[in-house]
């Protein structure tokens, strides 16, 4: 991935940074970051670009910021617009040029050339320009100069040889004056500027560009060249906003942000339990994918509510629904987000994905973040953003966004709607690799009903459940229920309930059967015992009889002997 490689290189070089050129801070948001401190001090910088891409504004902001923030007065030499036009154009940005001129912080001079009124004859030089610039610089002690757009000289004067020689002399002269200058130039067909003046201004060249992709235009800025200084070489999107230019140096963020092991609740207790019992990591990125109507927004809203309950701020970027609609929908499942909005803990921003290009979205999100300072951000859903760029752009967009959020320790939850036909684990944008935690909500259709199930596909750095849970939205809130697992099938919803009932009956039946059997066996045992008792009694009786017989027998025996003796006596036997 070239982007990442670049970032690492940038970080490496910044560690071994030697003494750099002295720089002149522009005060333009983001530009100083890319240039590593500003424009080369005391040298001219060329700003080139096509018409309407913000060259004049960049120059003017450089002067206004210099005058108001850095105490460096500036001179604006306009070759195209009048003082009145310039003043009017920037009034909407809150810059009062008249005031600055009155305070001697700014001098504006308009060098106006009307070729039809000028006749050239013989040799001449452009000393008049030098004198006027010099006079303007000296009158207020200027440190900054903007020449906008000096190439007009080529169309105003026919002797281009003289103009070229004089421009070369002018840029050298500006260096000797010690002023930091911006020279603007119109973009040429095959060169940076129409007249090739980049040859003369060789210290720093900034290119502005306005490109249109699928009917959405984005302005971009690139440091084309910066002699003697390292700089971000990518194209950076920039916006012209209410308070001036803001460049987005998000690609300059490295991967060396600090990582928190702090855990925050996701707002659904059972889901927290699945996430190792404690919820998401602070500063991590969470992806929730699922088809339409699977409850992704509800998971997001629960997370928002949990954030606000902790007293932290949550920024909810809604790309599909209006804020009021989200509030109403969440009330239907017993979640009232309204109080959090009143406490200014929750901010719902509804944006049209197709209203701007991705870069503009990025800049706007960036601005909202720095303005609102949330600890969690919800993007619901990201899928709509993918309509507005090429896959590479989208990937770059999310990488930069996630990088930035991570560097700010902001936890982000993104919903991604996946279309019915696609594979369930296929996020169209291919951003799942950027995500730390990935939840998937699926719908199972069976028995004439749809049931939601939730599964954790991954969750980096924590022990997490591998179980599927049934995800139910009730008027009391979100419920995660164990699905029916058994007999090699997973059942949800009514089917789960039916199966559970059937199981219950079956077990009841089994219990009854066991009880019956037990009773039978007990009876049998009792019968046998009774039989044993009878037999014993019989045996007893027989034994008694035997004894009786024996007794009788011995008695008889004894009686026989006696009888014999007696008989013998009687016989007087001898």
């Amino acid at each position: 991935m070239p982007l990442v490689i670049f970032i690492i290189q940038l970080n490496n070089t910044s560690k071994s940074r030697n003494v750099q050129l002295p720089k002149c801070p522009t005060g333009i948001q983001g530009l100083d970051e890319i240039t590593g401190g500003g424009l080369p001090k005391g040298r001219p910088t060329l700003v080139c670009g096509s018409a309407g891409c913000g060259k004049t504004l960049l120059g003017m902001e450089f002067l206004v910021r210099g005058a108001t923030e850095y105490g460096e007065p500036g001179v604006f030499i306009s070759f195209e617009e009048t003082v009145e036009e310039l003043t009017q154009n920037v009034t909407s940005l809150g810059w009062d040029l008249e005031q600055l001129v009155a305070e001697k912080k700014l001098a504006i001079d308009c060098l106006y050339i009307e070729p039809s009124e000028i006749q050239e004859t013989g040799e001449y030089d452009l000393e008049g320009i030098f004198i006027r610039i010099g006079y303007a610089i000296d009158s207020i002690g200027a440190k900054r100069v903007v020449l906008d757009t000096i190439e007009v000289l080529f169309s105003g004067l026919s002797n281009t040889g003289i103009v070229r020689a004089e421009l070369r002399r002018l840029f050298r002269w500006l260096k000797t004056k010690g002023v930091t200058a911006i020279i603007t130039g119109e973009r040429g067909d095959n060169s940076l500027t129409r007249q090739g003046i980049e040859e003369y201004v060789s210290d720093c060249v900034i290119r502005l560009d306005q490109r249109i992709y699928e009917e959405l235009s984005t302005r971009r800025l690139q440091i084309f060249k910066y002699r003697g200084s390292q700089h971000g070489s990518n194209e950076y999107p920039f916006l012209i906003e209410e308070n001036g230019i803001s460049v987005l140096p998000i690609t300059s963020i490295g991967l060396n942000h600090s990582v928190s092991s702090d855990r925050i609740s996701c707002g659904i207790p059972r889901l927290d339990a699945m996430l190792g019992g404690q919820g998401y990591f602070r500063g991590s990125s969470v992806l929730v994918t699922g088809m339409a109507g699977t409850g992704k927004s509800t998971i997001a809203a629960a997370f928002a509510a949990a954030t606000c309950q902790r007293g932290e701020k949550c920024l909810y970027l809604a790309f599909e629904e209006a804020p009021q609609q989200i509030l109403r929908n969440m009330r239907s499942i017993g979640m009232d987000l309204e109080p959090y909005i009143q406490q200014e803990l929750l901010q719902i921003q509804a944006l049209r994905p197709t209203a701007h290009g991705l870069e503009v979205h990025l800049v706007q999100i960036h601005r909202s973040l720095s303005y609102f300072q949330p600890t969690t951000v919800i993007i619901d859903p990201i899928s709509n953003l993918t309509l507005t760029g090429s896959p590479l752009q989208i990937k770059a967009f999310f990488m930069r966004l996630i990088d930035y959020l991570k560097s700010q320790q902001v936890t982000v939850l993104m919903n991604n709607l996946i279309s019915g036909g696609s594979s369930l684990e296929n996020t169209e944008i291919g951003i799942s690799s950027l995500m730390d935690t990935w939840l998937e909500v699926r719908v199972i259709e069976s028995n004439g009903e749809r049931n939601r199930i939730l599964q954790l596909i991954k969750s980096r750095g924590m022990e997490h459940s591998n179980q599927v849970r049934e995800f139910r939205l009730t008027s009391q809130g979100i419920e995660l229920v164990d699905v029916y697992l058994g007999q090699n099938k997973v059942l949800t919803g009514t089917a789960r309930a039916i199966q559970e009932l059937a199981d219950k009956q079956a077990s009841l039946r089994r219990q009854q059967q066991v009880a019956n059997r037990r009773r039978e066996l007990e009876q049998q045992r009792q019968v046998i015992q009774a039989q044993i008792a009878t037999l014993q009694m019989q045996m007893e009786a027989e034994k008694t009889e035997l004894d009786h017989l024996n007794q009788e027998e011995s008695l008889e025996k004894a009686g026989f002997l006696q009888d014999q003796e007696r008989i013998a006596q009687l016989r007087r036997a001898d």
Binding site: D109, L111, Y112, I113, E117, I118, Q119, E120, T121, G122, E123, Y124, D125, L126, E127, G128, I129, I131, R132, G134, Y135, L153, L157
Partner: protein
Amino acid sequence: MNQQNEHNSPESEKWELRLYVAGQTPKSVRAFANLKKLCEEYLPTQYQIEVIDLLHNPELAKQDQILAIPTLVRKLPIPIRQIIGDLSNQEKVLLGLEIAKIGE
């Protein structure tokens, strides 16, 4: 045509010319000499030349939108005309000052 008439009768007009220079450079000296010669030839009595040295009065460069040195500005008769350069090509100067027809 009114303008044509004016040009055809320059005698009645006053010519106010300004020559902007920056120090005594060869180009400036040459320009002044060329201008002087031309005026003597074509506008013998009614011209007035004011030489402004911007090195001494840089603030004056703004009023006549001076970029090049030397620059000749025809203040009167109106409209204002500017000729830049050392005025070495007399035909061009006459054309620029719109006094070409006088010589005819």
